[in-house]
Amino acid sequence: MPRIIKHHQIVDDPWQILTLTDGETPGTVALPAAPVLLPLAVWLARRDEILARYQQPGVWLDSDEDPEALAGDIARLTVIGVNFPKFTDGRGYSSARLLRERYHYAGEIRAIGDVLQDQLFFMRRCGIDAYALRPDKNLEQALAGLSVFSETYQAGVDQPQPLFLRRLTEATA
């Protein structure tokens, strides 16, 4: 079974990712057995069918897809995948923050695609809590990427108080 990093641990993980190939359409593609992350277009086209079929529905967003599209369904989703087609494509960081901070999504956000050790710290700060690393990478080694810095300046999902507010609290304590 494939392995991923989840909550700072390496775990076996059964989730599959459905990708539409040439000739397949969201309305007609065969829905695989659970658990599976479905493309956003499939979710939008067949929401009721998916909710009836899967106990734990999952959807993945590509980097050019807006998390706003899931705003009304946040509570129904068990896992939301955020795809990084290339590790230099940074849109997924904004998507993850919006899901957490604006839509208050409490389920799993999983980074998928070109996911590498040196992005993990940023991903964690943006609210991503599961990481399906690129298959050629060593997960044990990549774990170190989650804790490169022990302190940060900005507010993030992991630390809603920016350093300057905490510095002030410390100074007046």
Partner: protein, 567 residues
């Protein structure tokens, strides 16, 4: 200046460890060349024409004497005893060894320095006025705002992989000396009618292949909102800036495509969710940082020092230097001094190890141990007593740092060009040298007066040629070096993008063409007019006509205007 606390130091130390590990993994074959590239760029490491180049961050241009001494030592131990100052007020080392770069970063961290985000598609070094804190025309010191932005932008988790690089500049003076409208975001510190400090926000400026001046997106932003508002801009850009074509990926293209009104509406909407959130900066934080920039213990002195006045009257060479290189200061009896890195024969912006040590000494003896790097690639000692100016001049002169040419034709901004840079279409330093040779007579330079001449070796426009009165751009035609000339560009409050005068020139023609342009000015000027004033009054045509007299240019040059991405 700002001093690190334990947390700042720990973050920078951990950055060194992270980078060292990245290089180790790369050398062990665990991190590919492509995977390492954006990581090393965010640590300032380029692979250039002859090898690596390391760009060291100098936040908003501020350096202590101790830091400059460390840079001198690093240049000796790890490079060829020379550094190069850039238009982002940073320093580049052109000959470091790849394997030694982690050690260089560790050396830098020992004096509260780093190379964080000096390249890459992230927020770059924040720049500002070199006279911050001493300029008489300043509303308030911009450096605390720059420092807050430095901390906020350092390892920002959401904005480390933007569509393209992102540059921010801050101005707080009546006269903009930070070219804020040539930046992705330009912040102009102002007071509103109620006396509150805030910003006029410009967005979408930038040079490069498509030079555009920033447009005002907000007339007044109270300072407490600066971070949340910038996050809103960056988020809209991160999500919707173009990623399909790296030549159209800067925020200026997005602003242009949407129009400033629509872009502004999107920002306001995004900001409405973040406004008054935890990133709102309380006054106490501004005050905490501002205390780091408290004025040094200056003496109470008469506005005019009698000894200095006498020397000024009696020593013509000294007086010339004072006229060009000494600037007004808000405290009576003090002055700011520009040390010119534009001596004839020197590559503009280059500084040798010996000069670094000499400047550190000067800063310690005469300017409270601090100095600034200017975006025009010179150095400023900001707090010199008038009575010390003569001695500073004598010492600087021995180090070839006292060329009295600040603001004159030979005070050129110039990129390293094709001699070093992998992107350049053409060399730029030899053009600067040729201009220097042609205009080697100081009296002639004084007669020409205030003028700006900038040189870029390629469309990336590191030499800011678009905003120079005379701009020179290296272009490649059939593997030959050619130079396109623009005129009419300006920095400052009346920032303007220059216009191309026509087909490009051979390298050896460039000094003659500049002389031709200057001769039109000298013939046509009215008393008190600068080059740019005459140009604006009589228009481009007389200059254009003179530039091509006797030159055969039937075929119009096809210019390679591709902007390249450094790697």
């Amino acid at each position: 200046m700002y001093r690190y606390d334990r947390t700042d130091q720990q973050i920078i130390d951990q950055r060194v460890a992270q980078y060292r590990d990245q290089i180790r993994r790369h050398l062990a074959g665990q991190l590919s060349t492509d995977e390492l590239r954006p990581l090393r760029l965010q640590n300032g490491l380029y692979i250039q024409r002859h090898g690596p180049m390391l760009r060291i961050a100098i936040p908003y241009g501020m350096l202590s004497a101790t830091q400059l001494r460390k840079l001198a030592e690093i240049s000796r131990r790890y490079d060829r005893s020379v550094g190069h100052f850039t238009t982002r007020q940073n320093m580049q080392l052109n000959w470091p060894k790849f394997e030694e770069t982690p050690d260089i970063l560790a050396e830098l961290a020992s004096v509260e320095m780093h190379a964080v985000q000096t390249s890459g598609n992230c927020v770059r070094n924040i720049t500002t006025d070199q006279f911050a804190g001493v300029a008489p025309d300043e509303l308030t010191d911009p450096r605390p705002y720059c420092e807050l932005l430095r901390q906020w932008s350092t390892f920002h988790p959401e904005f480390a992989f933007l569509p393209r690089k992102f540059k921010i500049a801050v101005n707080a003076a009546t006269a903009d000396r930070a070219v804020i409208r040539a930046h992705d975001i330009g912040l102009d510190l102002i007071r509103d009618d109620s006396g509150e400090i805030g910003f006029r926000v410009f967005v979408g400026g930038g040079l490069g292949r498509t030079p555009i001046l920033g447009k005002m997106v907000r007339e007044f932003l109270p300072r407490r909102h600066m971070l949340s508002y910038l996050e809103a801009i960056l988020r809209v850009y991160n999500r919707y800036g173009r990623r399909d074509n790296m030549y159209k990926a800067r925020i200026k293209i997005l602003v242009q495509a949407l129009g400033i009104e629509d872009f502004g509406r999107q920002i306001e909407e995004e900001w409405s969710y973040q406004q008054d959130g935890p990133s709102t900066v309380p006054d106490e934080e501004f005050e905490r940082i501002a205390r780091h920039f408290d004025p040094p213990a200056r003496e109470t002195l008469p506005a005019e020092d009698a000894l200095h006045a006498a020397r000024f009257r009696n020593d013509r060479a000294f007086a010339n230097w004072v006229r060009r290189c000494v600037h007004a200061h808000r405290t009576p009896g003090y002055a700011a001094v520009t040390l010119s890195l534009k001596a004839p024969g020197a590559a503009p912006g280059d500084i040798t190890e010996a000069q670094m040590i000499a400047v550190a000494d000067l800063a310690e003896r005469f300017s409270f141990g601090e100095l600034r790097v200017t975006h025009e690639q010179n150095i400023v000692l900001a707090d010199v007593r008038q009575r010390d100016l003569h001695e500073v001049w004598q010492i600087a002169r021995r180090q070839r740092l006292a060329t009295a040419n600040i603001g004159l034709l030979t005070d050129m901004i110039c990129c390293p060009g094709g001699d070093l840079c992998a992107l350049a279409n053409a060399r730029s330093v030899p053009i600067a040298a040729a201009v220097n040779e042609k205009f080697d007579d100081l009296d002639y330079l004084y007669d020409i007066g205030d003028i700006s001449l900038n040189i870029s070796g390629c469309m990336n426009s590191c030499g800011h040629h678009h905003v120079a009165n005379i701009g020179i751009l290296g272009v490649d035609k059939n593997d030959e070096e050619w130079y396109q000339i623009t005129v009419g560009g300006q920095q400052g409050n009346t920032a303007t993008i220059g216009k191309v005068i026509g087909p490009s020139f051979y390298a050896q023609e460039v000094p003659e063409v500049i002389e031709a342009l200057i001769s039109v000015y000298l013939e046509q000027r009215t008393p008190g007019e600068r080059f740019i004033d005459t140009l604006q009054r009589i228009g481009l045509d007389p200059f254009k006509a003179r530039a091509y007299v006797g030159r055969d240019r039937r075929r119009s040059a096809k210019v390679e205007t591709r902007e390249l991405v450094n790697a």
